[in-house]
Symmetry: C2
């Protein structure tokens, strides 16, 4: 079960620009999770202007949309942004919260006993409201958040962090949250705040998974061209969580696999605008690229 935004994005990169297209954290998370036998469902809100074809896309991907509330007369959350030449920095040109401003998520009864819950980037109070609606504590609670909530609602965010099993966060956010420059120290400090597992996303530089004294690293696949980074972090989180939902195994070794699965799907996401590449992705393509990840990282040194 995924809570997060379902939105319109308008994106400009050095390679081109789009009009309003499908976007939002829950969209990317769900399309990635849909690559697995995970019985995915979205809890979100959209306006009356949200196209039926986008809703149909979710259904086609076997993503349950009973929890997507459609507000009559309302307008869907809209974000417009522009990436700089190195694609590492983006400027927000426009944010229209619209129906998101009053979003009060209602988890459908059928999903109040979900085993795995993915809290996409949202106001921490909304994330907490979803946790409170669960009949019992899910087996796995995964949280994504960002610096905006650290700047504006830190105390509420800390309450959510204290509840979850896994947090996914980028390197700068991990530093901001803890005041530690070293990511090893930052991950240790975050584990003190609650989560047993800390995933630090470093964009084109890969992702780190921390658990007690253990650490695992997954690189980003080196690509000829990154076309549009929008949604890469959410796609990572969706692949990570979807794989864990399918396998039902939360050992450290299986979380390593989940990090690879997330990185693998994110490498597709950045090849086209928005979720375009994810909507037609086949299992054959996914598995072929997993082999590339093996080639990229596996070695066999004989110790003396």
């Amino acid at each position: 079960m995924i809570v997060g935004t379902v939105a319109f994005d308008a994106i400009e990169t050095p390679f081109g620009k789009t009009d309003k297209i499908l976007g939002g954290a829950a969209t990317f998370i769900a399309l990635a999770a849909a690559q697995f036998e995970a019985d995915a469902a979205i809890v979100s809100v959209v306006g009356e202007d949200f196209p039926q074809e986008y809703l149909d896309l979710f259904v086609e991907k076997k993503v349950n949309i009973d929890g997507i509330e459609i507000i009559e007369g309302g307008k869907t959350f809209f974000w417009k942004g522009k990436y700089r030449n190195d694609l590492n920095t983006r400027d927000t040109l426009l944010t229209e919260l619209n129906v998101l401003a009053d979003f009060n998520p209602v988890v459908p009864d059928a999903y109040r006993d979900s085993d795995v819950v993915m809290l996409g980037n949202l106001h921490p109070d909304i994330q907490m409201s979803v946790i409170r609606q669960m009949k019992e504590r899910p087996k796995l609670l995964v949280l994504d958040t960002m610096n905006f909530w650290m700047n504006n609602t830190l105390e509420a965010l800390k309450l959510v962090i204290a509840e979850v099993d896994v947090i996914t966060i980028n390197d700068e956010e991990a530093r901001q949250l803890t005041g530690e420059y070293s990511l090893v120290k930052a991950a240790a400090a975050i584990q003190q705040m609650g989560p047993h597992y800390v995933v630090i996303k470093k964009g084109e530089h890969g992702a780190l998974l921390f658990h007690r004294q253990e650490v695992f690293f997954a690189p980003a696949l080196p690509l000829e061209e990154v076309f549009d980074p929008t949604g890469a972090g959410d796609t990572f989180a969706g692949g990570f969580t979807g794989y864990l939902a399918e396998t039902g195994n939360t050992s450290f070794n299986n979380l390593k696999n989940a990090v690879i699965q997330g990185s693998n799907l994110a490498s597709f996401c950045v090849e086209r605008f928005g979720p375009e590449r994810m909507t037609g992705l086949t299992q054959q393509e996914v598995e072929a690229r997993l082999l590339q990840f093996k080639e990229l990282t596996q070695f066999d040194i004989e110790l003396r």
Copy 2:
């Protein structure tokens, strides 16, 4: 056989500062290569002020120093630098070329048939002079260089690049050399210039090895604290080359291992000022950390 600087460094980091200590590219390369059965030898130049104890250190590490010329009345190359808080940027406070200004390397007869030659960062004309002194083409020629030579002696540098098998270079330098932002495209362009293997060093973000359509990635080991990055790139190159000299195998699979060995040794180098950590490093410590590299990167996903 290693050609490069043997020098004095004075280093300031957020954690402290040193007086003049042992430094120089060939120093770090040799101390790393000395971890392998590689019969390492340095070709370099120092002044009369260079302490006998530093020369003794090389001999103790079984590094041949017949090719280190001592200039009577001369002063040793001296570099003084200060790292900023993130340790990714450093400012040069002082560079005294001294005896390096007239360095005219003479390869000892006994090393003119070396199988493996490592050209440390130096003026490309000096690097070329060493290549020309070899009785026959070495089995493996490895080149390290930097942006300074791209800015000032690009044509001479290109002639050296055309001669070598492997180039090690950092990400910004790869972009500068080729005009390609994508490292995949940059590595392809550099292979067109000569080297069959391109190693792109990304500092704390690891290193990439490219060969035709193949690519391999080694992360930097996540450390609680990086104390002093000085010499990390040279230590990487020394571990990489020393391992290849010991094993005598230049297949892509063995170059993967060499990249891991280089990354492993570099992870020690940054733990203390200058080469301090490298001088007392034991084989047990090296092998224990290789196991950490395996833990850090190896996974086992079963494909469907």
